[in-house]
Amino acid sequence: MELGVYSFGDLGHDRTSKAAGRRLDALIRQAQAADEAGLDMFALGEHHRPDFAVSAPEVVLAAIAATTRRIRLTTSVIVLSTVDPVRLMEQFGTLDQISHGRTEITVGRGAFPESYSLFGYDIRDYEALFDENVRLLIQLRDDPAKPWQGRFRSALRDVHTGPRPAQQKLPIWIGVGGTPQSAVRAGMLGQPMFLSLFAGPRSGVRLVELYRRAGTQAGHDPASLRLATGGHMYVGRTSQGAREEFYPHYSHYLSLHPSFAGGMPRHVYDQWIANGLLVGSPQQIIDGIMTHRELLGVDRFVGQFDPGMPESLADGSLELYLTEVLPVIKAETRTSEPAATEVAS
C-alpha cells in the first residue's frame, strides 16, 4: 500500500507575503524529508485566497522535483473546471520530465469559488466545465493528435502539446468529495479515484461500490480502478495529547466552512474522531489507515499533514508519520499488496 501526504499551504493568522515565502520553503523542506524517509507521495492543492500559500502547485512541485529522488508528486487537487487542459498537460508533461517520471495529476471540481471569477468562468457551469475538461485532459494524454471540439474552448486540430510526459501514461486521478455522480464519472472514465473523507471511511463504502460498479459496467479492467483516500490528519505522541494539541488549530482551520463559522465545537471534534478522523497516537493512525484499507480496499492513503498547524507542530506530526506509521503500514500491507498498485515509471 502507498502512503503520502498533501497540503494546501494554509497560512493561519499571518497572511503576509513573507509568511507565504516561509510556508513554501517549509513545504519544500518537508517534501525532502518525506522523500528521504521513503514516503510514496507528496501532493499540493491549489487555492486562490489570502489564507493559502499554494496557488500554483505545479511550480512548487517543480522545485520539489529538482531536490528529491524517489517520491512521486501529485496535486490535491487541480480545480480542473477553471484551467485549460492543454496548458495543464504541458505543465505536467514538463514536470514529469523534470522529475524523471514521478508525476501524477489529481483533478477535481474544487471546494471554493474564487478560481471561477479569477479565471473568467461562470460558477454555475462548474459541473459541465469539469466534465468537458476531464475528457479533454485524458484525450491529450492518450491520443494527443486527435482533433477536439468542445463547448468551452476553441477547437483543436493539428496541434502540438509538449513536452510529452516521461511516463508512457501519466496517471490522472479523479478527486471526489462525496457526490455520487462524481464517483460514477470516475468509474465510467476508468480512471483511478481519490476520495476525500472527513468523517471516516464508513461514509465512503457506498461511494466506492458505486465507483467500482460504474467502472466495470463501462467495461474497464477492475485493476485499472485504483482507489486512494485522504483526509485531515494529526499524529501526536499520545492519544490524549494529540487531541488536545490539534484541537485549537483545527477548530480555527475549519472556521473557513460556513457550518463552523465560529470554530468547531469540541463535541463535534470528538465525534469526528470517534467516526474515524485521523487524530491520535501513531498506533491509532495506523489502525485508522488500516480501517480504510479493510473497509474500502484502498491502494493508497494520502493525509493532509498540516491543516491549520504552525510549522513546528506539522513537522512533529510529519516526523511521527514517517518514522512510526509508514514502516508499520508498509510491513503490514506488503504481503497482501494488490497487483494493481504497481506503478509504471
Binding site: 471546494a111 471561477y116 454555475r124 457526490t179 455520487p180 468523517a199 457550518s259 463559522a261 463535541h267
Partner: protein
Amino acid sequence: MKIGIIGAGKLGTTLARRAVNAGHDVVIAGRPGAAQTALVVEVMIPGATALPVTDWEDLDVAILAVPFSIALTIPMPLQPGTVVIDPTNHWAPVDGDLSDVAHRSTSEALAARHPQLQWVKSLNQLGYHDLEDETIGIAERPAMGIASDSAEAAHTASVLIASLGLDPVVIGPLSTGTLLEPGGPAFGTTLSNAELSTLLHPAEQAERSRGDVAEHVG
C-alpha cells in the same frame, strides 16, 4: 408517507436512505436525462425508486435537494398545494453570489417563484455526515428547525422529520428561515430541542420588536 426527492447528490441520497429506513415510500429524481441516476439509486439507496418528477403521483412531501442556484431555475411540475421542503443553503462556493437571497431566506425566493406550492424551510441545518450517523434517533434526536407560512405544511414536515429520528421545532413563518441558514444562530450545530428553542428565542424577540414577524404558525 410518500416522499419525492429532487437531487440524488450527497444530501438527497442521505435523506432518501433515512426515509426508506423509516418505512416511507421514496421516489427520487436526478438531473433530467442523467443515465447514472438509476445506478446511484440502486447502490446508494436500495428500496427507493428512481423516477422523473413528471411521473410522481400522490406525494405527501417533496424535498428539493439541489444546489440553490439550480433550485431557482428548475421547473417544479408538482401538484399545486404539494408540501415542499427546501433544504438548500445559499453557499457562494457552489451557487455564486445571487442577489435573490439578499437578506431573505432561500425559501422565500423559491416561494415567490412557485407560489402554488407550500414551502417549508428545513433539513438544511445539519451536514449530510451528521444525518448519516446511525445513532441519530436512538441515542439522541438532534433538533431540526422548521419555518413555513402554512401551519398544515409545517405539521406535515414535522411528522416526516420526526420519523427520520430528528426532533422538529417549528420556529415561525418562512421569513424566519434565515435563522436556520448560514449566518443564522441555528446553522451547523447539533442541538437538542430545548437548546434550539432557547437559542432562537432572543433572535425571535428582536425580530418581533422590529415587527417583521407575522403570525407564528406553531
